[in-house]
């Protein structure tokens, strides 16, 4: 009996000790500051060439430098990180990069073109989730610090892609020594993942931080890279990325120091706005909600009717649709989100025009025809449930004389129907694969999304010509103009109706400098420092 008592005491002491250890992350900041990032974990690995999840992006951004990166929350302008100069030739099919010569990995080995070639080939050949980023791109070294990348089709978005943490450069010699390979059979032959997920892999990256401990379920801890090559030394002696649900993040960030919460809902965050110890940012997310009307008369003679489409476009009450998402959301002026190059200014957004809508609906002769709006009923993005959104759209359209039925289905079923191109009228969304407007050319006739909306190749030669031109233009100013024109044209006669960008919430304690949300990395911890 007495022995049990002792056991209980020991267990209690153990629990206390581990609780103290858990709080240690926030409590100890005497020996240099600790940055705590609270995040609902989505991470399978920290191996950059395998990882393609938001939490992994936070960590890999700190561990592995990329050729390009972004400053603050901006996604429109990739800026060189490992690159000293670069040029695109041959109609954006060939890119030549010159690497900086002073870069070395955390173990002191210089970073050269062979590391870049190894990393990119490893990315493609592992065939993991991020492999598509460089699919079809050939990479070869040109001297010790030159890298040449070529592709069969124009690749204007390459600098943006090369800012993705999955294109982080690993130390080829060290990774090879631990079972890594970039050969064609890397998907089975590469054995470096386990090693990369341990602190022993510290020399594999050239970023400002190295891995101190790694768990996909509780927390990932980073320590400064003592030999960091960059001009700005790491701002914290420890960075802890912890797995927390939103409600716990809400409590933590209010009592924390040097703390960031990423996953709060807009209304949770608005409750914090009066708190002087916190910085609350509610900004448009990169997700775009949009409706489409199938352009194929074989799918629906109603939704393919041009006048009916115009009527939908001008009947929607875009302001009231925003109310579904709460503060911080904006009307999507086009399909390209507001923070990307080539996005339309707010003033160019379609405005509700009831008279125009009614006239168009009457002209279409299809006003009385019942149309079913299909949406994924179990999906919620940035706190906005699709069901609520669909009900809002229905009420908007019914008010102007449309006859709209709703039909929700589980996301997997909805996706099947949507991808088949047989859906007449759908509520959908698009999140960028990489922060470049080229990702949105898929909406052109005959392209992936175009076909889903029944918009076949040749349906609108003017828009297709513009899309083809966008693909080969590399000059940033020209690209901006082309992509804006592309969206103006879509807004005039395309089968899509961009609705809104919901709210991305980002809360940080006000003792942090440069703590901003970045859609590519969630937060770039390498830029954050204590005030």
């Amino acid at each position: 009996m007495r022995r049990w008592k002792w056991l209980a005491l020991v267990a209690a002491a153990g629990i206390l000790a581990s609780a103290a250890a858990a709080f240690g992350a926030t409590a100890h900041h005497t020996a240099g500051a600790t940055l705590v990032v609270d995040n609902s974990f989505t991470i399978k690995t920290s191996d950059p060439q395998r990882a393609f999840d938001p939490t992994a992006s936070i960590i890999d951004r700190a561990l592995y430098d990329t050729l390009f990166t972004y400053k603050g929350g901006d996604l429109a302008n990739p800026i060189p990180l490992l690159v000293s100069s670069w040029k695109a030739t041959n109609g954006a099919k060939t890119f030549t990069f010159q690497l900086k010569k002073n870069v070395h990995f955390a173990n002191g080995t210089p970073l050269t073109s062979k590391d870049v070639v190894f990393s990119f080939n490893r990315l493609v050949n592992i065939k993991g989730n991020p492999a598509f980023l460089l699919a079809g791109v050939k990479v070869k070294a040109a001297g010790k610090y030159g890298v040449v990348m070529t592709s069969a089709t124009p690749d204007t978005e390459l600098p943006a892609i090369l800012a993705n943490p999955s294109t982080g450069i690993v130390n080829s010699a060290l990774v090879k020594a631990h079972g890594g390979t970039s050969a064609a059979n890397a998907s089975t032959a590469d054995k470096a993942e386990t090693w990369l997920n341990t602190p022993a892999s510290a020399g594999a990256g050239s970023g400002p931080y190295v891995l101190k401990s790694f768990s996909t379920t509780s927390q990932v801890v980073l320590a400064p890279n003592a030999k960091y090559w960059g001009p700005k030394k790491p701002g914290f002696s420890t960075v802890v990325v912890r797995n927390m649900i939103a409600t716990t993040q809400l409590i933590n960030v209010q009592r924390g120091t040097h703390e960031i919460a990423i996953d709060l809902a807009a209304d949770q965050a608005t409750g914090l706005q009066g708190n002087s110890k916190l910085h609350v940012s509610l900004q448009p997310s990169t997700w775009v909600f949009w409706l489409f009307a199938n352009n194929d008369p074989k799918v629906s003679s109603v939704t393919s009717n041009e006048q009916w489409q115009q009527a939908v476009r001008y009947a929607l009450d875009y302001k009231s649709i925003l109310s579904v998402a709460g503060p911080g959301a904006i009307q999507a002026p086009g399909l390209i989100p507001s923070m990307f190059l080539g996005s339309l200014p707010q003033k160019d957004a379609v405005k509700q025009d009831v008279a125009k809508a009614k006239a168009a609906l009457a002209a279409s002769g299809q006003g009385s025809q019942q149309v079913t709006l299909q949406y994924p009923s179990d999906l919620t993005i940035n706190g906005v449930p699709f069901t609520t959104m669909a009900e809002k759209v229905q009420a908007n359209l019914q008010a102007e004389g449309f006859n709209i039925q709703l039909s929700g289905s589980p996301t997997s079923n909805w996706l099947t129907a949507y991808r088949s191109g047989q859906m007449a009228f759908g509520l959908s969304l698009w999140g960028p694969d990489y922060p470049d407007p080229a990702d949105y050319l898929t909406f052109a006739p005959g392209q992936l999304v175009g076909l889903r909306a029944g918009w076949a190749k040749g349906a609108d030669p003017a828009i297709e010509k513009l899309a083809a031109k966008a693909l080969v233009t590399t000059n940033a100013a020209q690209r901006k103009a082309i992509y804006q024109q592309f969206q103006h044209d879509l807004n005039e006669s395309g089968p899509y109706f961009p609705l809104m960008q919901p709210t991305q919430v980002f809360v940080s304690t006000s003792d942090l400098k440069n703590a901003v949300f970045n859609a590519e990395y969630d937060v770039d911890v390498t830029q954050v420092s204590p005030k």
Binding site: S377, T388, S407, G408
Partner: protein
Amino acid sequence: MSSLAYGLRARARSSRIPAAWRQPLAIAGTVIAFAWIVIAVFAPLIAPSNPLAQSFPASESPSLHHLFGTDELGRDVLSRVIYGSRVSLPIALALVAIAATIGSIVGAVAGYFRGFVDGILMRSTDLVFAFPPIILAMVVAAVLGRGLFNAALAIVVVAWPSYARIVRGLVLSVGDSEYVQSARLLGASSRRALVRDVLPNVIGPVFVLATLDLANAILLLSGLSFLGLGAQPPQAEWGSMVAEGTQYFQWWWIGTFPGLAIFTVVLAFNFLGDSLRDVFDPRTARRAVESDA
């Protein structure tokens, strides 16, 4: 979901409630049930606004203007709860009537003819009994497709076997009684014996079961709608309203009031069914009288 299934099983079936307390419960049950029926019938007159009308700003907390507050699209929750009764109550009534009819016919045929017919019919009811009701209803509703009609159909599929089993037992015992035997000897047809002699003895227990089942049907229907298989938006249905409420916990009124509506209706029909059983059962009826005296 698990709590739903649990709720279905844990319905107030027990006779642990002391007999003296039964009458007040019966009265409470009758009053609440009647009130809901009145609300359902006169919904357009009672509801303060159109249950589908959206207003802005949305998600207002309960006030004098909106007694139950407004939901995430600015629709009046009180009006939606009132209109919700027009969905749940009639459908539950109709499908319990259908289930009771189908189950009773199957049970009567099985009990009266016995032998091979009995074997076939009862094994098929056992087959349905083998599945937890909510799971089976979900499967049926999912296969048929979303929508209220299919959800109701799914509940009929789940509900009829209990009637079949009860009626079969009663028919077996009544069929053996001397007056039925004599009627048969006097040349009455099977149909006549079933309708004239057996049916009146069976109707009471079936009626009790049906009243209790009304509560179950409303719960199942709400459950299927909660899971997105029943009523489709924007229709005001209690289960789907509760489901909407779970998306917005910070606005407690969106899910709480439809939840309370389900709660009161289910409780009322349970009270009613329990009391009816006491009335129809000669033993408990006598006991109730004795304890009253």
